[in-house]
């Protein structure tokens, strides 16, 4: 076609940011034909995609499927940022990696996969985690950002930067059997502009993060691959729509084409999946959200948020989300390491005792310490509440009907946090028998047991 020079030369493409008039190469024409004939896309939409730069933050359960469709659709420059390496337990959902690439940096693994799918885009590897110091520099190189991360600290940071550097943000999240998706700051609107209807930022929709005690990670709660995959694919769909219809381009207020003009109803899509029942009418729900908030911390009219401030540590995102630290609240005599517990047991130094395992029954079913009795943490708290209401006697909480009220109790959980809370709870209920009975936390839970005692233990 005489335009082969453009192939693989996004620099040339970038030189004409609105270069939607060039001819497509034969390869492009072949590759994108089925999507270009979809009404609304056409050659113009395709060229907009080719001229676009997308940043995918997180190469995990959302990022993998999202990146596949972004690459397949022909977005010209695709940046991926993530500092993790591929692990076996990722592969049921992170389908852009491969068994042969376990141990490789996730960004490099995913880009390997994407090049196989479509060699035409330019792939940019950012093999580190995003943080307040590097976020603005990376994000400002792109036209649109996809939040495929897995924690609130990064989610607030990404949204704040997107507000300040005027980038649209497509955000998704998933855990266990639910997913959520929302498009934010689109069309991008300068910080502080509030007289009119403008798109919300992440903070407009989710003003405060949930308390850390209510949050669990995919590692703890589990995640269905298809659920997170669906959200990632939907994220790609939204990004492609925005770029193909040029909604990502901030309109200069003077041009009369205000961001307000292109504002669509802000929507939060939620997906709820059930392992026990068929698809029901409430599996997908589109919820109507409000627009930009006048008093929003990040995008509102009196916002003091700045790039320099963020770089210098203001606001403190970790503090804001108060990520749980491994602070120890129990005195040393109420704790024992997994190794010490094992050694004492081996040597016959441990008296008769009760060993409570407070993990979920799914976790417990894969293996436990010999003699352990499973009382899941949630159930234990429920029983404790019933005891407090005088509905049942304090001994009810222990699985074994034990007459001997001085038999020590050892508590183990998955990683050592619930077990400490359990020790506190049992003492509160008076099960320590006024200090005569020892109630002891096994430090670090079954994770520590695997590391210190039994490397073959099937820790999940």
């Amino acid at each position: 076609m005489g335009e082969a020079s453009i192939n693989g030369e996004p620099a040339a493409a970038k030189a004409a940011p609105n270069g939607c008039s060039r001819r497509l190469t034969d390869d492009e024409f072949d590759r994108y034909s089925r999507q270009m004939i979809v009404p609304g896309m056409g050659k113009e939409g395709q060229l907009r995609l080719i001229n676009s730069r997308v940043l995918i933050i997180g190469a995990g359960g959302l990022g993998c499927p999202a990146a596949q469709y972004i690459a397949g659709a022909g977005v010209g420059t695709i940046g991926i940022i993530d500092g993790d390496v591929v692990e076996t337990s990722n592969l049921h959902r992170q389908v852009g990696h491969a068994t042969a690439r376990i141990g490789m940096k996730k960004v490099d693994s995913l880009i390997t996969h994407l090049r196989g799918l479509n060699p035409l885009p330019t792939y940019v590897s950012h093999p580190f985690h995003i943080n307040p110091q590097n976020a603005a520099e990376v994000i400002s190189q792109y036209d649109l950002v996809m939040d495929c991360t897995d924690n609130p600290v990064t989610r607030y940071l990404i949204s704040d930067i997107c507000v300040l550097v005027c980038k649209p943000l497509v955000s998704a999240a998933a855990i266990q059997k639910s997913g959520q998706l929302t498009v934010l700051n689109c069309p991008p609107t300068p910080q502080g502009l509030v007289d009119g209807k403008y798109a919300p930022c992440y903070r407009c929709c989710f003003r405060k993060p949930p308390p850390p005690s209510s949050m669990v990670s995919c590692g703890e709660a589990g995640i269905m691959g298809s659920v997170v995959g669906l959200m990632g694919v939907a994220q790609a769909g939204e990004a492609i729509k925005i770029l193909a219809s040029a909604l990502h381009i901030p309109s200069p207020p003077a041009a009369g084409d205000t961001p307000e003009r292109n504002l669509q109803q802000p929507t939060l899509l939620i997906y709820t999946y059930d392992l026990e029942s068929a698809v029901g009418p409430y599996s997908f729900r589109a919820l109507k959200m409000g627009g930009r908030k006048r008093n929003c911390f990040a995008c509102g009219e009196n916002s003091t948020l700045t790039l320099a401030g963020i770089r210098a540590g203001e606001p403190d995102y970790v503090q804001f989300c108060s990520v749980p630290t491994s602070s120890v609240s129990l005195p040393p005599e109420e704790r024992i390491t997994a190794a010490a517990y094992h050694a004492a047991k081996q040597k016959g130094e441990l008296p008769e005792h009760i060993l409570l395992d407070t993990r979920e029954k799914e976790h417990f079913s894969f293996g436990s310490i010999e003699g352990a009795v499973n009382v899941p943490f949630g159930k234990l708290l429920m029983k404790a509440a019933a005891i407090k209401r005088d509905v049942s006697p304090a001994s009810e909480i222990l699985p074994l009907e034990s007459e001997k009220t001085d038999v020590p109790i050892f508590v183990v959980c998955r990683r050592g946090l619930d077990s400490q809370e359990t020790v506190e709870k049992l003492k509160e209920l008076g099960l320590d028998n006024g200090g005569k009975r020892r109630i002891v936390d096994i430090m670090g839970g079954m994770k520590a047991w695997k590391e210190e005692v039994d490397p073959t233990f099937p820790f999940i």
Partner: protein
């Protein structure tokens, strides 16, 4: 308030999502018959509903996963007939017959 008004109940559906169903017997949808007025005779609002749910429907003792300082805890969105409650007046919204109120916990995993 007349006896007739006091006795009246508003039929609504209440949904839980994003893990909150765990606190309500693992059931995502509940049909609730909400007293039309609160103890002081004022029409039932979202605030009243939240209190009512805590007293009558919550099976799990971890109330702090749902309410904090008498308000819905941070990180939970409340949707009235599929619209964010801030579009409807938040806690002060007066519940109407056949309303659908959805409580959804915001997710962060990925």
């Amino acid at each position: 308030m007349s006896a007739a008004t006091e006795a009246a109940a508003i039929p609504i559906t209440v949904d839980f999502s994003g893990g909150l169903e765990m606190l309500f017997d693992n059931q995502r949808r509940h049909s609730v018959s909400l007293p039309a007025v609160d103890a002081s005779g004022k029409p039932a609002t979202i605030a009243f509903l939240i209190d009512h749910l805590c007293r009558t429907l919550m099976k799990d003792p971890r109330a702090e996963l749902f309410v904090l300082d008498n308000h819905i805890r941070p990180g939970i969105l409340v949707l009235i007939n599929d619209a964010d409650w801030e579009l409807e007046g938040e806690e002060a919204y007066e519940i109407q017959p056949r309303d659908n109120i959805l409580f959804v916990s915001t997710l962060h995993g990925g």
